[in-house]
Amino acid sequence: MGLWALLPSWVSATLLLALTALPAALGANSSGRWWGIVNIASSTNLLTDSKSLQLVLEPSLQLLSRKQRRLIRQNPGILHSVSGGLQSAVRECKWQFRNRRWNCPTAPGPHLFGKIVNRGCRETAFIFAITSAGVTHSVARSCSEGSIESCTCDYRRRGPGGPDWHWGGCSDNIDFGRLFGREFVDSGEKGRDLRFLMNLHNNEAGRTTVFSEMRQECKCHGMSGSCTVRTCWMRLPTLRAVGDVLRDRFDGASRVLYGNRGNNRASRAELLRLEPEDPAHKPPSPHDLVYFEKSPNFCTYSGRLGTAGTAGRACNSSSPALDGCELLCCGRGHRTRTQRVTERCNCTFHWCCHVSCRNCTHTRVLHECL
C-alpha cells in the first residue's frame, strides 16, 4: 500500500497499462489459463482487507476470466484456497506419473503444464481432472477450517442419522467445493468444439471423484468410552486417494468423438454427447476420463510438441515394469554411475544432553537413461 503511494502518478499509470495489455499477449488458446495463479503469493489478511486493490496488485489475476475474478471477490479468502489446491494438484500429478515417460513436467510462468494442454490426449485429460479435483478438495476443506467467509461446515447434516448414531461434528462441505469448482474452473473454458467438451467432461470427472470418495467417520461417546452414543460426520478423502483413482481412469481413458445423434433442433444436453470412437467400447461414464488424440511420443525432446524426453531420467535396471530402464529409456539404453554417499549413523544420546554420531560412507549405484 505504502509503496504504491510513493510512486509518481505517471509510473502507476504506465504499470496499469502494461498489466491491462497482458491478456492480449498470452496467445489465442485460453484453456487452463487460470493455472497461472499457482504461484500467487498472498495472505488471507491481504485478501480480506483489500478486496479491490489486490486484484490490481497481483499480475497473475489477469489470467483469470471476468467471471472468475468476480467469484474471487464474492468469496473472500478463496483465492488462497484455489492457489493451494492447484499446488497440491501439481504435486499429486508429479507423484502419480513419477515412473512414467511423461512425468507431469511443469514450468514457471503462466503456461504451467506447457504445450501438452493444447492437445487432446490422455495426459491433458489427467491434468484437467486433477486440477479440478485439487480446487474442489481445497475449497471444501477451507470451508470447514473457516478460511472462507461465505461457507462453513456442511451443517445440513444434523440430527439422527440412523438407529444408533446421529450427525455431528464438522462435515466437510463438498457441495460448496463442488459448486464453486464448477463455476470457477469451467468458466475458464470457451468454445463449443470437441476440445471444449473434453475439458468440461474431465473437469467434472475430477470433481465427481472427490465427491464419490467421501467417507463417513464416527466417534463413540458414553461411559468409559462405550458406544452408547455415536457421532458421525463426512470426511474428505486424501488427495492421494483421489489421484490413485484418477490415474486408474487415465489408464482406462476413452477415446471419443462428437456424437451425431439428433439434429440442430435437439436439446442442448443432447448435442453435448461424447461417444466412443470404437463403437464396441464402453461409452464413457461421468467418472471416466476422455480424450480424442493419440499421445505424442514422450521418448525424445520436441520443442514443437512440448515433450522433454526421457534422457537423463533415473531408472531401475532390474525392473521389467514401466520404471525399468528398458521401457523408460525407450530402448536407447542406460548409463550406470556410482556415487559415494556419506551419512550420519550409529547415533547415540549422551546424558545430558547431546547426540553424537559417526559418519558412514557407502556406494550407491544409479542408472540413467541415455
Binding site: 489408464d251 477415446r255 464402453k282 514401466l322
Partner: protein
C-alpha cells in the same frame, strides 16, 4: 534342434495310418518331422518315437503359452517371430530350449511306461531291492532311458560356438528339472488295507510343475558374455572352466550351474517388431497387469453380455436342470 527350437513350421502333423506295410509307417512319419540326419536315424530306430516327438512338441508349446500368458512376451510361436527369436540369445530363447528338452524328456519317459516303445519299458530299480521295508513294484516312468535319449537327440557337444554351447546348456537344464521332479508313489497292501506290504514306484511330476519351475529359472537367468582367449583365439565364457580347458574332453567352459543362461538383453516386446507382434489388443486384467502388459499406453474397456448356466439342481431321476443367467462383464484390451 527340434520342435520349438527347430526351423520347421510348428504344425502338429497328423499321423494318419499309412496304407504301406506296418514296418514302413513310422519311417514316413519320421521323414515328415523334418529332422536332422542323426535325429531321423534315432527316430526310425523305434516305431513309437515319431508319435512321442509330436506329443512332446504339443505339450511344450501349450505349457510355454500357459506360463507366459500374463507377460508381454506370451510365447508367440508364429514362424517369423520364433525364427528371429532363435537367432538371438535372449532369456526367452533360453526358456524355449529348456521347455523343449523338458517336454521331450517327459513325453518319452511316459511313452516308455505306457508300452508305446519297443526299446524301453517301465523303470526298473533292482539296485534298491530289499533295502527298505517296502519293495519296488508297479510301473515307474523310465527317466534313465529318456534323459539319455534326449541328450543324444538334441546334443551338439563338439561345437566350439559359444551360442551353441549356451543352447546345449539350456537343453540340459530342462532335463535336470525333470530329474529333480521325480516323486516316489507308494501303495499299501495287506489285510483290510493295512500297510503290511507296500509297493512303490517312481513317477514324474506333472508337466505344469516343470513349466512353473522353468519359468522361475527364466526370471533368474544368468547373463554370460564372451572373452577372447588370445592364446588360442577361442571364445570362452566369462566363468572359468573347471579343470583343464585345453585338453581333449575338457570341462565345459560354461558355468556348471542349474540356472538358465542367456547372452543378450531382451527387448521390451511392447511394439510390433521382429520378435513379437506387440501388445496392442492384448487382453489384460485391470488391477493386475494392464499397466505392465500395455506398457503404459492404457487399456480399452468393452462391455458385453454373457449367458451362463446357474442355479443348477439335480432332478430325480436323473438329470441336471439349470437356469440361464445373463451377466455383463468387462473385457480390457491394450490400446494401440
Amino acid at each position: 534342434y527340434f520342435g520349438l527350437t527347430g526351423s520347421e513350421p510348428l504344425t502338429i502333423l497328423p499321423l494318419t495310418l499309412e496304407t504301406e506295410a506296418a514296418a514302413q509307417a513310422h519311417y514316413k512319419a519320421c521323414d515328415r518331422l523334418k529332422l536332422e540326419r542323426k535325429q531321423r536315424r534315432m527316430c526310425r530306430r523305434d516305431p513309437g518315437v515319431a508319435e512321442t516327438l509330436v506329443e512332446a512338441v504339443s505339450m511344450s508349446a501349450l505349457e510355454c503359452q500357459y506360463q507366459f500368458r500374463f507377460e508381454r512376451w506370451n510365447c508367440t510361436l508364429e514362424g517369423r517371430y520364433r525364427a528371429s527369436l532363435l537367432k538371438r540369445g535372449f532369456k526367452e530363447t533360453a526358456f524355449l530350449y529348456a521347455i523343449s528338452s523338458a517336454g521331450l524328456t517327459h513325453a518319452l519317459a511316459k511313452a516308455c511306461s505306457a508300452g508305446r516303445m519297443e526299446r524301453c519299458t517301465c523303470d526298473e530299480a533292482p539296485d534298491l531291492e530289499n533295502r527298505e521295508a517296502w519293495q519296488w513294484g508297479g510301473c515307474g516312468d523310465n527317466l534313465k532311458y529318456s534323459s539319455k535319449f534326449v541328450k543324444e537327440f538334441l546334443g551338439r557337444r563338439s561345437s566350439k560356438d559359444l551360442r551353441a554351447r549356451v543352447d546345449f546348456h539350456n537343453n540340459l537344464v530342462g532335463v535336470k528339472v525333470i530329474k529333480a521332479g521325480v516323486e516316489t508313489t507308494c501303495k499299501c497292501h495287506g489285510v483290510s488295507g493295512s500297510c503290511t506290504v507296500r509297493t512303490c514306484w517312481r513317477q514324474l511330476a506333472p508337466f505344469h510343475e516343470v513349466g512353473k519351475h522353468l519359468k522361475h529359472k527364466y526370471e533368474t537367468s544368468l547373463k554370460v558374455g564372451s572373452t577372447t582367449n588370445e592364446a588360442t583365439g577361442e571364445a570362452g565364457a566369462i566363468s572359468p572352466p573347471r579343470g583343464r580347458a585345453s585338453g581333449s574332453g575338457g570341462g565345459d567352459p560354461l558355468p556348471r550351474t542349474p540356472e538358465l543362461v542367456h547372452l543378450d538383453d531382451s527387448p521390451s516386446f511392447c511394439l510390433a517388431g521382429r520378435f513379437s507382434p506387440g501388445t496392442a489388443g492384448r487382453r489384460c486384467h485391470r488391477e493386475k497387469n494392464c499397466e505392465s502388459i500395455c506398457c503404459g499406453r492404457g487399456h480399452n474397456t468393452q462391455s458385453r453380455v454373457v449367458t451362463r448356466p446357474c442355479q443348477c439342481q439335480v432332478r430325480w431321476c436323473c438329470y441336471v436342470e439349470c437356469r440361464q443367467c445373463t451377466q455383463r462383464e468387462e473385457v480390457y484390451t491394450c490400446k494401440g
